[in-house]
């Protein structure tokens, strides 16, 4: 049986949206898929050496539950519906939300992004970065982890065109 192929385009640069590409890529690799991720635009944040800058933004995201990862059950069950206008006005709001999300992730036995990224690399998931957006955003290749190919859209299509599954995330 010929090896199946999964091609992913990762375009988001927030902590929450870092999960789908790395979870799907690492799982596909474990199932025997040959897998490539093309990081472009804000997705470039996911291949930076320092992942500490990844944050989550609850602002303008009504789908995001705002629950506390600590305290008694009744307290954890409260959904804090904080109006957008306040979220925008409170300094450090995103940093606090990010810290709370990281705690929730740890409480639930969910892998961290650095861990998932490493698992992808160990499983030979190939990382491609869009050279055009690297330049557009003023990044240097030294900002990113080793083992990345810097390419254009045409190179991605060489793999994606033969893929069984292609996802835009």
């Amino acid at each position: 049986m010929e090896e199946k192929k999964l091609a992913i385009i990762a375009t988001k640069g927030t902590l929450d949206w870092a999960y789908p590409p790395f979870i799907l890529a690492s799982t596909a690799a474990a199932l025997g898929y040959e897998t490539q991720i093309f990081f472009t635009f804000y997705g470039l944040q996911l291949v930076r050496k320092d992942l500490g800058s990844l944050k989550v933004s609850p602002i303008g995201n009504p789908g995001m539950p705002m629950k506390m990862p600590f305290g008694p059950k009744w307290f954890k069950d409260i959904n804090w519906n904080i109006p957008n206008i306040l979220q925008c006005a409170i300094p450090g709001y995103e940093s606090v939300a990010t810290a709370l999300m990281k705690q929730t992730i740890a409480n639930n036995g969910v892998a961290t992004i650095p861990e998932l990224r490493e698992l992808c690399q160990e499983a030979d998931v190939k990382f491609l970065a869009c050279q055009m957006t690297v330049e557009l955003f003023g990044f240097e290749h030294s900002d990113f982890i080793d083992g990345i190919d810097y390419v254009g859209a045409a190179t991605f299509f060489e793999f994606a065109g033969d893929s069984d599954i292609c996802l835009f995330i």
């Binding site: 799982t27 474990a30 639930n108 036995g109 969910v110 892998a111 160990e122 499983a123």
Partner: protein, 75 residues
């Protein structure tokens, strides 16, 4: 059931039980059996799907007291 290796995946959530199992299977030889204990309820269907897609045989899948135990024979 006899097994050659055991993996404790308790407390881990998707996709870690599958990824750790795959990693452990890589270190084993064909015909050996891996026992996995997990607490993720999604792992029941996930291990069946993993076995089906990778060709490793799922010998048994059982639940007791919120823990799921799987035996997988390496292809």
């Amino acid at each position: 059931m006899n097994f050659d290796k055991e993996l404790d995946a308790r407390g881990l959530n998707c996709p870690l039980p599958i990824l750790r199992s795959k990693k452990t299977l890589n270190e084993m030889t064909s015909g050996q059996v891996l026992k996995i204990i997990a607490t993720d309820p999604g792992s029941v269907k996930d291990f069946a799907a993993f076995a089906k897609q990778t060709g490793n045989e799922l010998l048994s899948s059982a639940e007791a007291g919120g823990e799921y135990t799987f035996f997988i024979k390496k292809k």
